[in-house]
Symmetry: C2
Subunit: 407 residues, 2 copies
């Protein structure tokens, strides 16, 4: 049998009891004859607590020192998990990012993995040991500790799985898999047995919290078999697979929503070529990404322009636009936080027509007004009033008959 | 000006406010024109809390994993201290034992430093940076994180000072220096301006808590100028110097006491050559060190034998002796925790006679019974009833007129 990589998030290792449970699960996989490599996050709220401590000392702590600080969180959890596995009578060894040789580009707090030295891991596996790695961290070629950004333990796990050509990379989390919609919003949401990397990527982009885009991109690039499953149950989970590996024919996979969206509306913009480009360039220069855009010409011969950004970027975007007022000469700019994006994702939408129309009709029948629309090959998204989010998700989920018993 | 190494213990960096105060002190030394290298312990009770967490998971956690766990404590404090120094407008960089290259022999939980790579530290100092090092930890040649034993941040500081040929190594602690006796026991105890390495070593061995023997041994070996001083006051502190550097003529430097002693008494031991050796070998085989020994022959022609061990070794020592009963055939063995050792330390005792007699007379005058006696070139120790400890210390301190204003 080959190598299985297992990743456990912070909530799965939040205390001694949970760590012992995770150890049992790891031991079971080892007993099944697999070589087991585990990537772990920091315990529970550790990372947030360390950040709070840093901010008691400095409003804007140096990023290098913040990485030095935060990387201790995973070092604590790998040591404790290795102890728990040893306590069950199995050989385990914990390794930091530095010890493995997870080489990064040295961008503190948001480093990218450049290479992974697999020699140490393989030699430990050959000795029959269970290898427990610190997620989220790496080391630059200058021997500096770097972290990979929030939620990046998933990325560590997938990168390790790719490097070791593992049979599977299991991401253990607090949900049982990938659903047709958030089960807290749609009680009859169905868990998928399979989704494609592209669907998973779009779901992550469009508001599903289950996996980070970066880890899915990496899994797609290296054809890693990702499995999302629960730390707290024995349920099968959802496999994230290549499109040619999909067994089921699915048109629509999921309805997602994202309330972390805001709209910037400019009224009375001169209708001259290049004005929109000037505005978007100014916003992009401040590293703010714009999602949807809509432009309409009004009877006065000027244009009204709206675009969406994430809520955290809203104030900065408004400031940039106001700074352009003298140069461009629009009438007014206004922010609107009270919007949300609901989206439909499905690999089968490539080859099926009429999906968008059915979605719009469902919203219309429910008296939910669509403010903006965008689509890609496998998604359709609508901006609506934020207060209608849950109702919109349920309406669309029903219309496409996504609910029911687990497929 | 040269390099000054400063070491701050856990109580000096116990919270954000204290860390900021330490940062100010470091910055001041830097402002005076020195190159500053700092060694730091883990914050407050961090190490104890991590050990507790480990024991929630395993009664006897693997030492490698315990070192992996505990070394995070210092990594947190160096990062926070570097942030605090940066916040004051100075350039600071934290370095782990691995990053410095504090190479150890790989004995987990009690590693010995074999070499220190000074290149990284020197290059950071040349860039004008304040270098903040994790105490207590090193790395083996196999890239394994090892810790140096409790209280070993002092050792790190002295080893670094020796390697860098620093002008001085300041050990900041919660007392103002080295006293003629514990000021909590003897209110008029006097702070020394100077003591020799040998005196400091004996004081550490005989119960003074201010410095660990290992760090003093290292300082002696490499002629490091150690200074013990307070993190919380501006007082001058005590210099630990070579004997030829002593300015003052001192006969007696300090009265120390150690309650962490216990006595094992064997009654009716056959008075045959080799019996005592057999007993002590059996105890030594279990890595229990024996301090004082007394043997008396009783009228029945058998011997009574007593020896002292530290309290934590008492149960194990009794067990070993009981295991020898069949082989040796003594009458009985009994433990006694209710003893303490009071000692007199002074470099001048080498060349002065009558010191021991004065000490015994002082105890006799105070009606304190001496159970055992031992001495070295610069010490005399008496075992007495534990309940008399403080009174004995005060009595001896008075008799040798050690008190008074700071010398």
């Amino acid at each position: 049998m080959g190598i299985i990589v297992q990743k456990f998030g912070g909530s799965s290792v939040a205390d001694a009891t949970k760590i012992k449970n995770v150890a049992k699960r790891i031991a079971r996989t080892h007993e099944e004859g697999h070589s087991v490599v585990v990537a772990v996050s920091a315990m529970g709220d550790t990372t947030d607590n360390l950040i709070r401590l840093a901010h008691e000392i400095s409003i804007d702590p140096p990023e290098r020192e913040l990485d030095m600080l935060l990387s201790t969180g995973e070092q604590v959890s790998i040591a404790l998990l290795a102890m728990a596995v040893s306590e069950l009578g199995y050989q385990a060894i914990s390794l930091t990012g530095t010890q493995v040789g997870i080489i990064t580009n040295g961008f503190y707090s948001d480093a990218r993995i450049q290479s992974i030295n697999k020699a140490r891991i393989l030699s430990e596996l050959e000795r029959g040991r269970i290898v427990i790695l610190a997620g989220f961290q790496g080391v630059s070629i200058d021997n500096e500790i770097t972290t990979l950004g929030r939620g990046a333990s998933d990325t560590t796990a997938v990168a390790i799985a790719a490097t070791l050509e593992a049979n599977r990379c299991d991401i253990y989390t607090d949900v049982e898999g990938v659903y047709t919609a958030d089960p807290r919003v749609v009680p009859n949401a169905r868990k998928h047995n399979q989704v494609t990397h592209d669907e998973m990527l779009e779901m992550a982009r469009l508001g599903a919290k289950v996996l980070h885009s970066r880890c899915v991109e990496l899994a797609k690039k290296f054809s890693v078999h990702l499995c999302v499953r629960s730390s707290f149950s024995e349920a099968e989970g959802t496999m994230v697979v290549r499109e040619d590996e999909m067994i089921e024919e699915v048109v629509v996979s999921a309805v997602t929503s994202d309330k972390d969206q805001a709209k910037v509306s400019l009224l009375g913009v001169p209708d001259i070529p290049g004005i929109a480009a000037r505005i978007f360039q100014a916003v992009a220069d401040e590293h703010i990404s714009i999602d949807m855009v809509i432009q309409t010409t009004n009877p006065k011969g000027t244009a009204d322009l709206s675009f969406t950004v994430t809520e955290k970027d809203l104030q900065a975007a408004i400031k940039i636009i106001e700074g352009l007022k003298g140069e461009i000469g629009f009438d007014s700019v206004s922010p609107d936080k009270n919007i949300a994006q609901v989206s439909l994702v499905g690999i089968g939408m490539k080859s099926h027509v009429g999906i968008a129309a059915r979605m719009f009709q469902a919203l219309a029948d429910a008296n939910i007004n669509i403010q903006m629309i965008s689509s890609s090959e496998i998604t359709i998204s609508c901006v609506i009033d934020e207060t209608e989010t849950e109702r919109a998700v349920r309406t669309i989920h029903d219309r496409f008959e996504l609910g029911g018993a687990s497929s």
